[in-house]
């Protein structure tokens, strides 16, 4: 096994030397930006989440599925049979809603507005929208590996690159009310949930649109390839079955732009 790894390493490091010509050199790293709608499942607390952050009557774009925007950096270690290497993704996502309030009688029997029990929030028609705003924000970080099957692009005229990637995902989150960090049983409402993420996608190489410009960019700026892409991610982010963590599992379809560098 060690011999196999050594052989692969030698092949990878030898690639630039073998391909002295820039035209044949393979990219060594890449960066991409993407965005797409996302809604966490929240597991057994999905209805509770919906009470705050989902509007059944507001169908405006991305209201109930806000955009998750991410940046990704790839480093290609193996480049002979496609591009394979580690990657890191950093993202941001947030959803806004209104607080919930319930009316209860005070000591004198006068109805006054106040907080609800979780049962009241989940019971239709009992709680009502409060006067304040609340916001849940998440910052997903993913460490993993990516494989880009760019052999089709290399050896045919078809400018498509299918790819797959996956890794460990860490969703840090915070919840605010009126712009200030809210609290859960006296603790600041911020935390993190660990999980895994898998993605498949298809990238459309843009070099064929202007081959000469692409060639010049390759020679002068080191830009090997540029892509428009679409991908679908599957997230299992529930603390590996820990139901005390916020469940950010879900799917998202994202589109974006990527550049690979020599």
């Amino acid at each position: 096994m060690i011999r196999l790894v050594a052989l692969a390493t030698v092949l990878a490091t030898a690639t630039p030397a073998l391909a002295a010509d820039h035209e044949d050199a393979q990219p060594s790293w890449g960066i991409s930006f993407r965005t797409g709608p996302y809604k966490p499942s929240m597991g057994t607390n999905a209805r509770y989440y919906n009470a705050y952050y989902t509007s059944p009557t507001d169908h405006s774009l991305f209201k109930n599925h806000p955009l998750m925007t991410e940046v990704e950096i790839d480093y290609y270690i193996l480049r002979e049979f496609g591009l394979l290497g580690p990657m890191v993704e950093l993202g941001m996502w947030g959803v806004s809603g209104a607080t919930r309030a319930c009316v209860h009688p005070d000591a004198s029997g006068t109805p006054v507005k106040g907080p609800c029990s979780s049962t009241e929030i989940l019971t239709p028609g009992v709680s009502q929208s409060g006067t304040d705003s609340t916001k849940l924000t998440a910052y997903p970080i993913t460490l993993g590996a990516i494989y880009k099957a760019d052999l089709i692009k290399r050896y045919t005229v078809i400018p498509l690159v299918p790819y797959a990637k996956g890794g460990l995902t860490w969703f840090t989150w915070r919840n605010t009310v009126g712009g200030k960090l809210s609290h859960y049983l006296g603790h600041p409402a911020e935390g993190a949930t660990l999980g895994v993420r898998g993605t498949v996608g298809l990238a459309f190489n843009l070099d064929f649109i202007e081959p000469n410009a692409a060639s010049r960019a390759r020679m002068s700026t080191g830009i090997a390839d540029s892509y428009l892409f679409g991908e679908m991610s599957f997230l299992w982010v529930d603390g590996f079955g820990n139901n005390k963590r916020l469940n950010f599992s879900g799917q998202t379809v994202q589109v974006g732009f990527a550049v690979d560098f020599l």
Binding site: M1, Y52, A101, T131, D132, L168, G178, N242
Partner: protein, 378 residues
């Protein structure tokens, strides 16, 4: 330039004034304009602005000018000669105080600009105040017995400056309201031929081409109140109240000034909020926000307590406009996503990554085992 000076305008109760700058010529080291003692804007707590409040002639509240003058080394006076004179005069300008545009202190017999002589004295007769030690004008000037009538140089006196070379009369006049202007209080050393260190006097101080020694304090006095608040609405939120005022006459630099206090009766007070007095039993809470960019101002409050409040405008020098009508609001506790979360919710970041070191340990153990096996084979 070690021998001259930083001049600091000071008021009787607190140093400096709003939008005040100092400097001097020729070749004098300029003061540090970032110093809060010199550059006094309204948010700076170390100074008080020259506004309507500065004109309060109530007992003990009237503000008079004092200018702190660092020592001028004796060699300057020696060179100036026994007949050199000191002039103190006031110039009224149309330009706003600026940290970059320096005023020119000019006291000429032919001048037509608005300036008023405040005091003058001859060096040989009255060595004070500049030799050897720092001094305060006019306090030390008065105590030195230079003037027959002690100066009491109030904000109102400055605002009543008119005419050309009005003489040395000190006015103690009442402060007019609704006026705004920039003034420069100049100190100059007059020598015979308008060069900086030639001996003698020609009864004028040239601050331009042949600059004689001058120092100055430039300041804005503004007694124009901001516009009234036309209407206001208040929304009771979770542990805070959001106030949304409107004013057709608001200007750039104006700030909303929101005040709330616990409502003791069943209806809010009708008294104008700029007359409210904060007490230990009923403290006033305030919050401000930019009147141009902020459509509302949020102020922290206690859930379940009914507050009365109102809002007015504050301008850049702290003048307060006419307040709005009173409002009443009772913040109340509400559920946000975290505070009423059903079941248990683990917060914090570190515990979430506990599986990572566990997984890393497992991987390391596997690798170690593989290496041992490879070692045995080889």
């Amino acid at each position: 330039m070690r021998w001259l000076f930083v001049a600091v305008i000071a008021l009787t109760a607190a140093p400096a004034a709003a939008q005040t700058y100092v400097g001097g010529y020729p070749g004098l080291a300029l003061p540090n304009l970032d110093s809060p003692d010199i550059l006094c804007n309204v948010p700076t707590t170390t100074c008080r602005p020259l506004n309507i409040a500065a004109c309060d002639d109530s007992a003990g509240l009237a503000r008079t000018f004092k200018v702190a003058l660092p020592a001028i080394p004796p060699n300057l006076w020696t060179n100036a000669g026994a007949s050199a004179k000191v002039y103190v005069w006031l110039q009224k300008t149309t330009t706003s105080p600026s940290s970059t545009v320096m005023p020119i202190c000019q006291y000429m017999t032919t001048t037509t600009s608005q300036n008023v002589l405040i005091a003058t004295w001859q060096y040989a007769t009255n060595v004070w105040p500049f030799t050897g030690a720092a001094a305060v004008f006019p306090d030390d000037y008065n105590s030195a017995g230079i003037a027959s009538t002690p100066l009491n140089f109030s904000v109102g006196d400055v605002m009543n400056v008119t005419g050309v070379f009005a003489g040395s009369t000190v006015m103690n006049k009442a402060c007019p309201t609704g006026a705004s202007a920039t003034y420069v209080l100049c100190f100059g050393i007059d020598t015979i031929n308008n060069t900086s260190l030639a001996a003698g006097s020609d009864s004028q101080v040239d601050g331009t081409s042949n600059r004689e020694v001058t120092l100055w304090v430039q300041f804005l006095i503004d007694t124009v109140p901001p516009a009234a608040v036309d209407s206001v609405s208040a929304t009771a939120l979770k542990a805070r109240i959001e106030v949304s005022p409107k004013s057709a006459g608001k200007l750039a630099g104006d700030r909303w000034n929101v005040k709330i206090r616990e409502q003791l009766g069943s209806t809010p007070s009708t008294a104008a909020c700029n007359t409210w007095v904060s007490t230990d039993a009923d403290p006033i809470k305030t919050a401000t926000g930019d009147a141009i960019s902020a459509g509302s101002v949020s102020i922290d409050a206690t859930n379940g307590v009914t507050y009365e409040g109102c809002v007015d405008l504050l301008d850049q020098v702290g003048n307060e406009g006419t307040g709005s009508a009173s409002f009443s609001a009772t913040p109340f506790d509400q559920c946000d996503f975290a505070s009423c979360y059903p079941g248990q919710l683990q917060t914090g970041f570190c515990a979430a990554v506990a599986p990572v070191p566990m997984a890393a340990t497992v991987i390391l153990l596997l690798l170690r085992r593989l290496r041992r096996r490879d070692g045995v084979r080889s």
